[in-house]
Symmetry: C2
Subunit: 308 residues, 2 copies
């Protein structure tokens, strides 16, 4: 069963890991948000891609909630001594990813091929496809004006309210993304922030491709990142509210109503199930909190059985 | 006394450290070879500059003979896992230097300003000036053809015989180099490989500037890197022989005869003193082996007293 998952952020990465664990190698393809990408110290940093890559390689630091397990900070401390900005912390192991990636991209290789070379070096059977080869940079408008995403997300710790979101750059999907979607038998929209994790992926032609697949009868199943009204991690709940949405599974379902055909919500939100079904979704109510590897595999299996 | 030292390699860096130790802060300017520079993993690596920088910051790893003291190798090991070449070992602390430098140069700042920003961050009072802001890359011709310098020096461990040397790039000295030489009251040519450490510095217009200063009566003193017929470190001895020179203090003195006015040789080579004097040099015979900080300061003081 060829499954394509659209993800960004930790929740999406966890689901991707669960899907990889329960599917035969090669059946899963992950399309990852690149709107969070940034350049730090001249190096191309791809937080969403790398969260998925480390997760699928079994190297994600679950204790810290981001980055590579067993990380050290020698380079970062030395960069700070040289007067480099250090609010965006990059570990030594993680920096090797950025250094190798940046060097290979600067040689003229396309981003998709470059990151695949990193993934295969870590033994990952699942292609993790950047949504675009050309740079896309998410910006959020706060009461103090437009900010680069990582300025808002990391430097300001998601303090300001988000009034508007935009995606600067070339949203043209890569040939690999188009091919994966065209071959997909199931499309999964991960439990990721619908505004800034899934939003950039769907802002360009990908939305039309997904909708077309749904019309062709392929299940497109979205999983709510909001449980009991709050985001398990990150600012999705506050962002939904400040942008005029409801911070709930139902609010997320409304965002995906023209795109997805099925929706997965948490058991704590069972009372919202009728409203979500009324939007035209097939629904699955299940435990969506992925506390560990068993939880990730359990949710992945439940989602696949639901749409099978 | 405004002293300008031309250096490259460990011997030159040691003398520079000795000169900095005995001169008032600001009196010393170091002009450093950039022909050894190379790009590794997309980062600008400057071995001769960094040897001097770490030495003048009291951070040189004397035990290993290169690089930053207390170095770790996390990034390098991770780069190797990604399939990056790893014969040119870059430590974590050292990589921070290359990352910060490369980022600042890519922003469009000139190399001289960029490396000075690194030096001042490490508290170094002495300007360490790259001989040129534009890339110069030394190549050596062996029996197998032309090789990039670091391919010969590090990868092949100086195994092949060197038949010819060339310096590719723009040898135009920087305004800072020209200014330092014009203001110099003493010019010191460090105990560095005359072919590939001092050679690139003197291959362009700097030779004429130095010779002009000598004609104006400014002492230009060269220190032999060859002691008892051998190089204390590196391939200078073999390289001198394979390029048709004598591997001796006298052989080095002959190379500098049109440029320097004074020559310092080691006591073990006392018997060569008359030949060197006969070339027109004022001579100083002294212990030139710098075993420790006291030895570096001692040689620096001896050289300065000799030319004063």
């Amino acid at each position: 069963m060829r499954v394509v998952a659209l993800v960004g952020g930790t929740g999406g990465a966890k689901l991707a890991e669960g899907l990889q664990a329960v599917l035969p190698p090669g059946d899963l393809t992950v399309i990852v948000n690149t709107g969070d990408d940034t350049e730090r110290h001249g190096l191309l940093v791809m937080p969403d891609h790398d969260a998925v890559m480390y997760m699928l390689a079994g190297r994600f630091d679950f204790e810290r909630g981001w980055g590579h397990v067993g990380e050290t900070w020698t380079v970062m401390d030395a960069l700070a001594e040289y007067g480099e900005e250090d609010w965006f912390r990059l570990g030594d192991r993680d920096l090797a990813t950025h250094i190798a990636r940046t060097a290979r991209v600067r040689e003229g290789r396309c981003l998709t091929d470059v990151v695949r070379s990193l993934q295969t070096a870590l033994g990952i059977p699942t292609p993790i496809l950047p949504m675009a080869d050309e740079p896309v940079r998410t910006q959020v408008r706060t009461d103090d004006g437009w900010l680069d995403f990582q300025e808002y997300f990391v430097h300001l710790r998601q303090g300001p309210e988000v009034r508007e979101v935009r995606f600067n750059g070339d949203l043209t999907p890569t040939p690999a993304v188009v091919g994966a979607l065209e071959a997909a038998e199931v499309i999964v929209i991960g439990p990721s922030n619908p505004i800034v994790s899934i939003g950039p992926i769907l802002a360009g032609p990908v939305a039309g491709l997904v909708a077309g697949r749904a019309r062709a009868g392929i299940p497109v199943v979205a999983i709510s990142p909001i449980v009991g009204g709050v985001a398990l991690k990150g600012p999705a709940d506050r962002m939904l509210l400040s942008l005029g949405h409801e911070s709930s599974a139902r609010g997320v379902a409304r965002i995906y109503r023209d795109l997805a055909t099925a929706f997965v919500l948490d058991t704590v939100d069972t009372d919202q199930e009728p409203d979500i079904a009324a939007l035209g979704f097939r629904t699955l109510v299940t435990d969506t909190v992925m506390a560990d590897a068993a939880g990730r595999a359990r949710l992945a299996r439940a989602v696949l059985e639901f749409v099978a």
